[in-house]
């Protein structure tokens, strides 16, 4: 079964001291950088376009196209300095791919940063890491120091005349700073709240200069594309969603963990890889890409997990944070916990997200405690409708996904709460449920 997996980004993770420069170089690291720096930046942008690499942060925007938006030449915005900013503010519930990447293989990210910076003509790159991720920050800083010492960063890298400074910046623990413009404000030392767009970061990003903001996994993929070529990259995944992807399987499975596979793998296959449902308790619901992506159920076991497949089934690929929940879990309870997260993390800038999540949490908590009323489900849906597409940034939209999808698939569970039944089942109730093994 292991041939289903395509370890690329994760290929070094099992190596001893995988995070060191020595291991990285011994296993082929920093060769792509040499290839890249020998070529023209435009060739790299074209290569990235040809590879079909799409952003791994959730939205799936074509990476090469994003790079090509950076104005070049000496006129207007093109005359300004350009910046590369790495979004390593991994904070979506369930998402845990970037932090292990930075822990296990920080140099792949750094090499990607060097190649990307060269492609977009940036001489400064900031890696904005979630503040709570202390250990990865240390690893990353140590790796950056190694790269400087080796002459891979700094001035006149390998005698090519290309200069690059990398700063590893620790955030202060705000989910909103994963939104790219809020991240930029935070990086500039301001309050992290999303900016008005336009202007987009490509023309006025960090310090009002052209800026590419990319996810860790996206940029860590770049050295492999340079080394292996666009054709190799396209041997994995689908036409529109090519390449390998780290699927972070968590929850009620026997072997939770990171499974790197070509885009388009199904949950059925992932469950097989992960040893099936834990203790054989059946699957109830799951998220394809973190809590902001509408949940799926057992009927979605064969949905191909790529951008088109997930969207076609009414959800989003997101960050491929596959959270798996078995039948012991109350959907309203899980939705309440997620909503509490969104309420806690709402930045407060716009009314729908700030006030809406505040309200939704209270309704859900009341329902879960057996004090629901008949109108609550409709109110939940209507408040979600008043948030979705009305908030300033996508985080407000994301907050509604668990509720609307939860009610879509498990409406009766919400309605049952109105009959003064607490959501969290008592052990004697559990005993009534017939538990069967995982589907084959």
């Amino acid at each position: 079964m292991s041939d289903i997996l395509t370890p690329v980004l994760t290929s070094r993770w099992a190596q001893e001291n995988s995070w060191t420069l020595e291991t990285y170089e011994r296993t082929g690291g920093y060769r792509a950088m040499r290839t890249a720096l020998a070529g023209h930046p435009d060739q790299l942008i074209q290569l990235c376009k040809d590879s079909g690499l799409r952003g791994r942060g959730g939205a799936g925007f074509p990476t090469g196209m994003k790079w090509s938006f950076i104005p070049q030449g000496g006129e207007g915005a093109g005359a300004k300095p350009k910046y590369l900013v790495i979004n390593a503010d991994e904070g979506e519930p369930g998402t845990c791919k970037d932090i292990p990447t930075m822990m296990a293989d920080p140099h792949s990210l750094i090499e990607g940063c060097i190649i990307t910076s060269y492609a977009i003509r940036a001489n400064f790159c900031a890696i904005y890491v979630r503040g709570e991720a202390l250990h990865p920050i240390r690893r990353l800083r140590a790796a950056v120091a190694e790269a400087y010492a080796q002459g891979y960063l700094g001035t006149d890298i390998l005698g090519t005349g290309f200069d690059l400074e990398i700063v590893v910046h620790a955030g202060a623990g705000a989910y909103i700073c994963g939104e790219e413009t809020a991240l930029l404000d935070s990086l500039e030392g301001r309050r992290g709240q999303p900016r008005l767009k336009p202007p987009f970061p490509a023309t006025a990003g960090l310090y009002a200069s052209p800026t590419v903001v990319n996810n860790v996994e996206t940029i860590a993929s770049v050295p492999y594309i340079v080394a292996g070529g666009a054709e190799w990259f396209r041997t994995m995944g689908s036409e529109k969603s090519p390449g390998p992807k780290i699927y972070s399987v968590s929850g009620h499975v026997e072997r939770p963990g990171q499974y790197e596979a070509p885009m388009g793998i199904t949950l059925r296959t992932l469950l097989e890889l992960a040893g099936g449902m834990k203790d054989g308790i059946p699957l109830k619901f799951w998220t394809p890409g973190g809590s902001s992506t509408p949940m799926f159920t057992a009927e979605h076991l064969d949905v191909p997990l790529d951008f088109e497949g997930a969207a076609g089934a009414g959800s989003m690929l997101g960050t491929t944070a596959v959270q798996v929940f078995n039948e012991t879990v109350s959907v309203p309870w899980a939705v309440m916990k997620w909503t509490e997260f969104y309420k806690h993390e709402s930045c407060g800038k716009c009314t729908p997200c700030r006030e809406g999540t505040y309200w939704l949490v209270q309704i859900l908590e009341r329902m879960v405690h057996g004090e629901g009323t008949e109108s609550d489900v409709e109110t939940l849906l209507d408040v979600c409708d008043n948030i979705l597409g009305r908030s300033f940034c996508a985080l407000g939209d994301g907050a509604t996904s668990p509720i609307t999808s939860g009610i879509k698939y498990f409406r009766q569970e919400f309605l049952d709460l109105i009959a003064e039944q607490p959501a969290v089942a008592r052990p004697e109730q559990l005993a009534d449920v017939e538990l069967t093994g995982a589907p084959a």
Binding site: R191, K349, C350, T351, N386, I387, G389, R390
Partner: protein, 794 residues
Amino acid sequence: MTTTETETVTLTIDGIEVTAPKGEILIRTCERLGIIVPRFCDHPLLEPAGACRQCLVEVEMGGRPMPKPQASCTMTVADGMVVKTQHTSPVADKAQQGVMELLLINHPLDCPICDKGGECPLQNQAMSTGRTDSRFVETKRTFPKPLPISSQVLLDRERCVLCQRCTRFSDEIAGDPFIDLLERGANQQIGTAEDKPFQSYFSGNTIQICPVGALTSAAYRFRSRPFDLKSTPSVCEHCSSGCASRTDTRRGQVMRKLAGNDPEVNEEWLCDKGRFAFRYLGAKQRITRPLLRDESGQLVEVSWTEALRVAAEGLLAARGNRGIGVLAGGRLTREDAYAYAKFARVAAGTHDVDFRARPHSAEELAFLQTQLTPTVTFAAVEAAPSVLTVGMDLEEESGILFLRVRKAVRKHGQRVFTLGQWSTPGVEKTHATLIKSVPGAEASVLRELSVGGELVDALSATGSVILVGDRAAEVPGLHSAVAELATRTGAQVAWVPRRAGDRGALEVGAVPTLLPGGRPVTDAAARAEVERAWGVTLSAEPGRSTDEILAAAASGALSGLVVGGVDPHDLADPAAALAGLANVGFLVSLEIMTSAVTELADVVLPVAPDAHRAGTYVNWEGRHRPFAPSLDGGGVLPDCRVLDTLAVEMDVDLFTQTPSAAAGDLDRLGPYTGTFTAPTERPGSTPRPAQVGSAVLATWRQLLDDGALQVDEPALAGTARAPRVRANAATAERLGLTEGGQASVATDRGAITLPVELADLPDGVVWLPAHSPGSQVRSTLGVGHGALVRVTAG
């Protein structure tokens, strides 16, 4: 010169085709069509925020509907755009209703006790766009309240809808980002840093633009309801900007003042002095009945008949003796100033009349004559590529002009040069290049820079402006240096006096050398025009200045004085001024409040403050700013009426019974068409600290200080900048001063002791606020800007 056609786009809003200038914000285009989209965070003078999401509309671009409703306050119009507002789109209507419901879930709904109730955008839009009842049955978020963010501004965080108008105003417009968003999510709130209150001269504007009752003023809070108020458009009396304001009264009392909307002048802003300093109207110092000094030397209330008879008899006797001088003061309307100018010539028979109730010079008068036809406006200052300020600190002495300059700096990178002594907050906030000078040496410094270089290059750009404050009169040769620089660079010069009445008084001839319309006393033909109009014969000899009139009074060379609204402590030498007032044989004072003059006067005639009078201020631009009384009655009359009646008692007619009669009489004369030459005085010698322990004094007034019209408003005074002695580090060390410690600045007359704060002054210079609590420079030290003082620690 051809004006470039504004590029336009054509779009459809609610089925109506409309052409709009390219780049216009959609919500404004809707407004022009009469379609009002509800909004909170949107404000036409602030950068778009898109935070409240109340103004969502449906937009179709290139035939394709955008997937989400769009905030019309952030979206710019585009060709072919099809917009559907709440009137034609169920989606937009639902979105707006939804946002309104969300805004209200945590709102306390305390409209019946809220200051804003009745004039509240939230209340109004909840009516137009909200549900009749709430589905929210959960627990509302609460905060302790009110939270005083300054002594004047109180914050109710429960009412706040977090639109950020106040924080954006403070950051963008005023440059005082002392308030900001704190915390996040539902706990997000407006707040200040610890120990850093909202100390802004413009804080009151945040109260006015707050679309809910979250920001209230200590002065007005819980004192009235909007529907109980009678509103009158008014003009601010506190400086020469002539800001449009609105005076709200109830039962014969002014309850509050608001900024009026005048895009040409103050846009929609008002400084806190203009907004809050009106309690003097009801101060115990107010005079509303005529007073006469009895045999025991006490002022006693008498009838108008008696007061006017005694005043007329006294003045007639003085006129028959050594003559009468007239000091008109700087707070007069054009009409009242004209009455003083005419009273002097017709009733007192003299050109001894001067409005300048502050340090002044003959050179200044020569300069002012070249300023009779003003050419610079607020708009011109905003458009100017470069601005130089001379003899004024913009923020302290002309707050609204400061905002305009700051706007120009932000919007198009206007270059600002300030000839001064230290980087004041105003200098910092306009990113000005400080041209540092030892006090008194400004003229020499300017002359040196006029030879060429950065300043000359910048001011040579077409449209550049030199703003000259009335403090320039304290530095010999400075007006001449300005004139020379203007000639060299082609920059336009604007005189920006501090007081509201100065320009009007100049234009109507309340000066010793000029008759109404700027006619020189010495010009026979011009004089003849006035003689014909007034039916009198006028002397060809110019009169005396304020200082000279008071010196003459002190020496007995004048027998009588008519003084309107002059504070002797504002003059160059208050002791000499007081000696003149004390020694003159007969003193008539026209005043709204008791003062150092009324204390010495033989007859005190009450006159009307602005709330009770009509009239016209001429602002520094030369723009006429007419206003009507905001309060009826009050038993007080404008200066022009009192002088007219007094003149009748003296058997002369002024024809100034009412402000409009005075204006009619004045306007018949028309302007003078001759020209004047600029002064060419050499700079005076530069004072240098001669011995150990001495320094040169720099001083000017702060916006909020001990001004007479700021009495009885402690909440306003609480936001004033703390009085401090300032010196640079080297000078402080030489003088033995330490930051935070006390310093004493002294002359033979007295000493001022204040805490020390370091600033980037020139070596050997100390700065004091001129008229602040504990720092009355002229009256305590007897000297002013450019004088040598002794400085000691402690």
